[in-house]
Every structure is written in structure tokens, then in C-alpha cells.
Symmetry: C2
Subunit: 184 residues, 2 copies
């Protein structure tokens, strides 16, 4: 698939078919994720693909039922969790190098974007969910103390696929030349 | 360009030609960035494309001379800065919804990955630089208090383009099934 199509026709998918997702498609997504850059090539991002129904229930239970993707986390055959090791990315000898602190979330998102673009190419749907109880997800996935989950997505074949785009700000509002010029 | 080529052949470029980059190529990059998802479509990411030589010097001066991309920030015709407004993404009514806190850096990175993939398609080089003094960059770009710069990249046509890939961890180390299983 053309890069521009993957970027422009990726959508947040909240309704999934029950059909299983072959393991090798998940592997292809992570092969894409691993090509993203990371802080000094520190590669602190990790992915957990949850197929086990009991563990998926525990992950879903960490999300409020009011979340628009809550049902999808139960319907899709897989839940993919992106996580990262704290204290390395954005650090030099254990100390953050700038006041933004840890770059583990930044690095994870670079990798996640590659993964969800690849999912689009593979015909799979995703929707990024950040509203969850971190400790509950850590416990469900047996993540060690220093690795935090940053984002979840159901993963499966879309039941419906709506090409309407949620409204986006104009480029003129997002891109400033030479210095920031508030437009209010 | 095929998605897989953009993902697999993006490289960190540290040597640039002086040739100018047409404004509309930067616009195309930000058009790609704006299609990335963001927390509840909050769209807090902003980009500043610095062409002005004096402002570029101020940005470069915020980076240690020891950084392997330091010279590139002076040589490339443009420096692109990705920033984000704090206190909205990852928040509900002003309060972070989980213990990861602000998702502004996460959202910025989703957008940045789209932008650097598009740059690759356009024949432009990038290299993400996170080692810089945040306050110096904010001052140089006149960013308001609530908007922090997260990453810089020189932007221009590569002088050299090395297809060797810095070593990457195996997928089996990055991807875990059902639960995290430490491999040490």
C-alpha cells in the first residue's frame, strides 16, 4: 500500500469481527514498529499481544465501561499493548537530559504509529486507548516494575470501516514558520 | 512510495546539502503529521519550521556540540521542531487520567513518525534530536509557557545516505504473547 493511503485512510476502528488474526500479521506490525527510531537506539519499547480470553478480560476491566472502545476490547480477537522501560530513553547515565524527562512514551509512540500504519495495510483495525488503570494492566500482563503500559488497542478485522475523518485543525494552525505565532 | 519502503529505508541523516527545501514539502510533511491520531482528537501537537539563520543558530546553540547531529543543525537549510501543549492530552477536566501523566509527548511522536516517513518519500533526510535545553529552544521560538518542544530535526536533502541499519533487537524480544516474559 502507498504510504499516503496508509496515513490518510487509517481510522480509529471501534467495531470488530470475531475472526482470528494470524500471528504472523502481528509479527509484521512489530517488524514495522522496530524500524522506528528511538532515543540513542535504546529500543525500550515492548509489545504484548493478548489472545488469552482471561487475560483480555483483565485488560478490558482496567478500562472504564464508558470508553467508546470498551466493547471493542472484548469483541476483537486480540488486544495489543504498547509499553516501555522507564529510566533509559531521554536519560544519560540514569539522569534525564532535559526537562521533558523520560522519552519512553515518545519512543513507544514512534513505534506504535508504524505498527498501526502497517495494520491498515494488512486490513486490520486499531484504535488507541489511553484511559486505563496502569497498575491493573501491569498486573494482568505481569509487567515488571520498570515497564509501564502506555497505550492499548483492540486488533482485528473491522466490522465496519467509516472513511469519515474526525475534524482536523488546518495545517496553518499546526505549522508555524521560524517562531510560534499564537492564533487565537 | 510503498509504506514498507518508507518504514524500512528511513534512516537518521547527519550530513546535509545546503540546497533549500521548498515550503510546500514541509507542508506535505505536516499534512501527514495531522492525520495521526491524538488523545480524544485533542491535536495538541505543533510544528515550527525554522528557516531564519539567526533563529536556527539559537536552536543549534541549545544542543551540546558533542551531539552527533550538532553540525547537521547548522548545515541543513531547515530545522523542524515538534512541540506540544501540556495539560490536555491524557487529561480529563485538567487532571491526568492515568499515572503516565501527560500524553502530549506520545501524541507528538505519533505525528512525528508520519512526518519523517513522508520526508523519506519526498527524498528529505531527518534525524531526531532530543538532547537540548528546553528553555533555550522555547525562548528562541517564542513558545508560550504551556507549549514545550519535544524533538528537533535538521531537514534537508541528504549529502550521504547510508542504508546500513543500526542493530535492532529481534522481534522475539520486542513482542510478547499474552504476558510479559523477561528474556535476560
Amino acid at each position: 500500500m502507498e504510504l499516503s493511503q496508509a496515513i490518510n485512510e487509517r481510522r480509529s476502528v471501534r467495531f470488530y469481527r470475531k475472526d482470528p488474526v494470524a500471528d504472523d500479521l502481528v509479527v509484521k506490525m512489530i517488524e514495522a514498529a522496530r524500524m522506528a527510531p528511538s532515543w540513542a537506539n535504546s529500543q525500550v519499547s515492548r509489545f504484548i499481544a493478548v489472545r488469552d480470553p482471561e487475560i483480555r478480560k483483565l485488560v478490558q476491566a482496567a478500562v472504564p465501561t464508558s470508553n467508546p472502545a470498551y466493547n471493542a476490547l472484548g469483541e476483537a480477537p486480540l488486544v495489543l499493548v504498547a509499553a516501555g522501560r522507564r529510566g533509559k530513553s531521554g536519560h544519560y547515565k540514569g539522569t534525564p537530559v532535559n526537562k521533558n524527562g523520560d522519552y519512553a512514551m515518545f519512543d513507544a509512540a514512534l513505534a506504535v504509529e508504524n505498527a498501526i500504519l502497517k495494520a491498515r495495510e494488512l486490513g486490520l483495525g486499531t484504535v488507541l486507548v489511553g484511559v486505563f488503570n496502569v497498575e491493573q494492566v501491569k498486573e494482568a500482563l505481569k509487567l515488571p516494575a520498570e515497564i509501564d503500559p502506555f497505550i492499548l488497542t483492540p486488533l482485528g478485522y473491522p466490522e465496519t470501516f467509516d472513511l469519515n475523518v474526525p475534524p482536523r485543525k488546518e495545517v496553518s494552525e499546526l505549522l508555524h514558520w521560524d517562531r510560534f505565532t499564537e492564533k487565537k
